[in-house]
Assembly symmetry: D2
Homo-oligomer: 386 residues x 4
């Protein structure tokens, strides 16, 4: 029997559900040296947390995350709360010697992210591991894209075109959920989905952004108040309206340290685009294109072959990243397994005693890009170096 | 607490893995009146069955399916073996008063399928339920296609174009696995994947085939022998070659009882097509198109709207079949959840005391189509009525 | 100055317009040893023919095609009439020593086509050239497909999937135009568009059909009468209804002399498909896919390359067939230039004193396939060898 | 007989060829009150101009554009030269009372464009017409997109995503053609193709840009010298290398006067993208997407319909802009007919005595955007109002 590693998860909304699915299934597909045990779920309301735990498969419940960290049956803390609590929970967990996987964006401010990265660095010295949950890195097609770039199949990278397009708040009567409040969410489309394309672009190209110029906009300034609304769906209306304090859309252009130019757009107002995380990369020898709405496909153009053209690689072959574990070719995966792969990689690193990636330091770098975007947007779009 | 229903699964290869995934996850997403308990897995080799049970989450192991049926903790039998054993296991289970879900094709011969349908009919009179596992009916996009036709949004159906294209045996050195032996598999591409498109076409249109004209072919007549090869991947070569005794491809044209014409093609030699179950339906008011390689999309053309065109419906909205249970729009599902939905529907029917669909009778109807295809192909492609 | 070759065109409806466009523009793009002169247009109504000639650029008008053939300024006759007059005109022209390009299908019956092929053969001995106008061979993407197969890039061909889908008579009130009358059109979808996919399939694979099994159907049996209706658009209604005497759809399966299986479908009832001539070819080393609705694209899968997938070749590069003459890459061509290329090839052959392709003999072969389809459909779908 | 209008064209390279094609064919498809006569072609080399005239169908040749303007048989001047000569030729022609159609960008500097717009305005008062040749407005799909926005089918516009991606100079050994020299071309990708997406975005949305923030880049700083190279293809190498003095790529973000945000990218380094003029527009009620590489398709999402999704409208129906004149549905057009439509609209305006669109004033507005992009890029990407 493999050693068990007890997991405590804080939060059980959208991300809590996806992470639970990952913990529940990872060992059915991946042969890991440790076996995760879904030990405890923390949520403020005992009643609701207990219902969620029953549904999602957690053995116990706590109403205070501090208690969760304190438990002996928890060796690993999974943080699925809004961004305003990430720093406090993560730092406490790391100091208590618990491995930490934390949802993105790492924090709501650069200062918090710096403190977290420092805590992670100190913890790592003590063998305690941490990872920020940029799950889209674990889409097999995006992992394959990274491999292609790393192998030089694109040559010198010239262009990155990254968009994350959603439309769930196009209706001005959609209520003022926590994701539209700066104090909880930190920012709007920028931090929620813009963070993903910044990370994906840097991950796939292996280059870091060196500066940006940006504009942001809030199209709908006020929305109906509601309570018990989780991040994506509206709860019950309470009457009255409140101010939207985050961006609806963020557009920026930038430069990478390897010479590439980047164009970025994150918006919740792209009517008809549901979860279109799109990435296109052009290099001197080839190009790549990806759209999460067709997540099992990677489009690759190899300029060096005769009669070249973008080809649709169905990323479901045994040789493709993560795919050895799954179904026969052509039998695609769904969204949730980005988390299964994330958890797999985190557990493998914990068991091997190595630092998983992306680290809190990587998360901090993304946070700095988000902050630079906000500064540029507030400062006449002026070029803002990183 | 909801009542438990004990599940016993026979077989643990490809289909066993997908069904296990469904049993393990169904209650995390669907609110059902009963809770399945993964009680026991049966396989001939105790060692291998035990390893599979541990990996897939089954509590116990049997080496004889008769023992599995006999157990008190088993109220429901899930048959994931090759087609040559379906009839015997299913009939025994039904007679023992166990609900049965059976992989497709229902049987290897019409005679077996008839016996199974009769047993199912008798069992139903005693409140024992049965279902044949045409999982593709539970792709949300295909269920939505059925809804569109049933609502009249396509008008009178004129054409069905159904293809199931794979390429996993294009290489003539791919070994002689059981799926290429008539005595175990019954037929080749015809029964394995042709059965799916016959069922899908009849399900979506609500029409039954009334006759067919067919050709079949075995492109590669001999292949290397191998042992321990499961259905899709080759095991270790044992030296020597053996005869391929099933079809590599089956093409047929037919007529439906509502007046539509159908064109069908099932092949394992469509190089580059991995799991392309494609369905196109043309009616007097509109058309539909689907390809499983992009399983979260349904293409719909509404002739009655101005500036009409095929539109890509991302079948991930709460109002779409099964999708209320899942992630936000645009966060697609993978192959495995066709089984999660299947199990959900079966459990719901069992709990409600209603007959699930597709029934063994439906499976028998498909079997008769497969037999007619083989007869026509053997008889100068002559029209073969059903 | 290059020698002029006088062209006389018979008919000025849809095909007459496309051919005129080709004659008018060919020398602006292709460097040919002869220059076509648009000498004379023949049509039964002098008034209408004169109007068409003015619009389309023809220098003179005749009301009897026999006069057109007789003229000294006509060295080449272009036949754009319905199929019932092809044989008479073509044979007369060839006997008069005029080169002939004749619209497809070559004739309305095999007997006529045989007479035409014989006349063509005799004329060829005297240096008089003839060609049947299967224009889709001259889509650059289809010509490139042929090149790929000829070069062995697909290996051994296993499957051909050919469809020609239109929807212009889905409305039962669309009138009874000549294309729906057997005495003029010979057959319906079969001869009009089915002929194209038979030719395209044989051309691309380099294989000939050896037998077929077929069904045909006329969905709408009666339609409003109309006069002055050309082939595709309805003229003015005259009251009353008449019988549709041709097929609305034809489906057939067949075998090729190189071992491939073929599935064919020609229909005018595929709602939402406007001019979807689709061809998919699977071979042991690769596959091809084409849809005329995206005529500048050829999809090619090369099984021998790593991370293979169907790639979209934009067939607009200088090295692609016919494309040296045109715009820079990515600036696609339209439908009409299939005719420009056809005329180019015909003039080049005439000037070189070689036999152009496809010959009347090729047209006869297609005619025999059409006849076999009709015989099989009338004879219980029985296998009908060629 | 309709009155003739004599056309004199200056330049005969790429644009000269496309315009010639338009003049030669426009009356075969469109019923216009005037008939263009291809009177005279001007080029500096008499020999080459004469060869081009013979090939393209021009009746006479001049070696000095001033002579062309002076001729009595020229009532309309078509300017197809590089941007550095536009102002001089256009102003002289307008002053001589000749109607002028001028290639884009209108000029190489704002000052020149202002002078041209002023000359156009004065000429208009005398009944002399002028138009700048933003041909992509005349892609039927783009004209239909404009119609949809104007009809309110998209609601309030939120986002414009405009890209013009080419790859013809990815190879660093591609020579230093005139399009890479600032003194002739004015700018690089920005003026050549960026001008098109600025115009298309403003045209489709009916909104004007109010400010931009930009970066530009020249990836390859030096290239081989060559002579006789026209704009797109390299001539013969002369030895040595010269400096590239224009941008290879320009990225900018901006705001429109109706509240929309815009993201723009023009590049000649998007490997595998040949002529991908892409436009995506998101509004509160719907969205549009277009890619010139599939020029006969417009993708439209109507948020107000049930089961919404982007639908592929084949813009080949009689009711679509310009399409009444052409082939049956599904028989697409090619690149060249953007010019045929342009010439049609210009002739119609000239005949009707109305001002055609886009005017030189519109061309000036685009020029100001290009200048603002360059200023912003040179000034730390600072926001640059228009």
């Amino acid at each position: 029997m493999k050693p068990l590693i007890g997991v405590g998860m804080v939060g059980y909304a959208f991300m809590g559900r996806t992470h639970s699915q990952a913990w529940r299934n990872v060992t059915a597909f991946f042969d890991l040296p440790v076996t995760p045990s879904m030990a405890v779920l923390a949520g403020r309301s005992r009643e609701r947390a207990a219902a969620a735990a029953a549904e999602l498969g957690w053995a116990a419940v706590e109403t205070d995350w501090r208690e969760l960290i304190r438990r002996d049956d928890v060796q690993l803390v999974d943080i699925c709360t809004p961004g305003d609590s990430h720093a406090e929970i993560a730092i406490a967990a790391l100091e208590a010697g618990k491995h930490v996987i934390c949802e993105k964006p790492l924090a709501n401010t650069v200062a918090e992210a710096e403190a977290m990265a420092e805590a992670a660095s100190e913890a790592a010295a003590r063998g305690v591991r941490s990872m920020v949950a940029f799950n889209y890195r674990r889409v097999p097609a995006i992992a394959l894209a990274r491999r292609f770039v790393a192998e030089g199949r694109l040559g010198e990278i010239r262009h990155v075109r990254a968009q994350y397009l959603q439309d769930w708040i196009v209706d001005p009567e959609f209520p003022l959920v926590w994701r539209l409040r700066k104090e909880q969410a930190g920012s709007g489309a920028l931090g929620d989905i813009g963070a993903h394309i910044v990370d994906a672009a840097q991950f796939v190209t292996g280059q870091l952004l060196t500066g940006v110029s940006a504009i942001t906009e809030t199209f709908v300034k006020e929305r109906p108040l509601a309570e018990d609304a989780d991040g994506l769906s509206g709860g019950s209306r309470t009457g009255g309206r409140g101010e939207v304090t985050v961006d609806d859309a963020a557009l920026f252009i930038g430069r990478f340290d390897g010479g590439a130019l980047g164009s970025f757009e994150a918006t919740r107002f792209a009517t008809g685009r549901k979860n279109a995380l799109r990435l296109e990369v052009n290099g001197s020898r080839g190009s790549l294109a990806f759209d999460f709405e067709a997540m099992n496909e990677l489009w690759f153009h190899d300029e060096t072959e005769p009669d070249a053209g973008f080809r649709r690689i169905l990323v479901t072959e045994p040789g493709h990243p993560y795919m050895e574990a799954w179904w026969p070719p052509g039998h695609g995966l769904g969204y949730e397994h980005t988390f299964t792969h994330e958890v797999r990689d985190f557990l493998a690193a914990v068991a091997a005693g190595t630092d998983p990636s992306p680290s809190f330091q990587d998360g901090l770098r993304v946070q700095r890009v988000l902050a630079a975007v906000e500064r540029s947007a507030a400062n006449d779009s002026r070029w803002t170096p990183l």
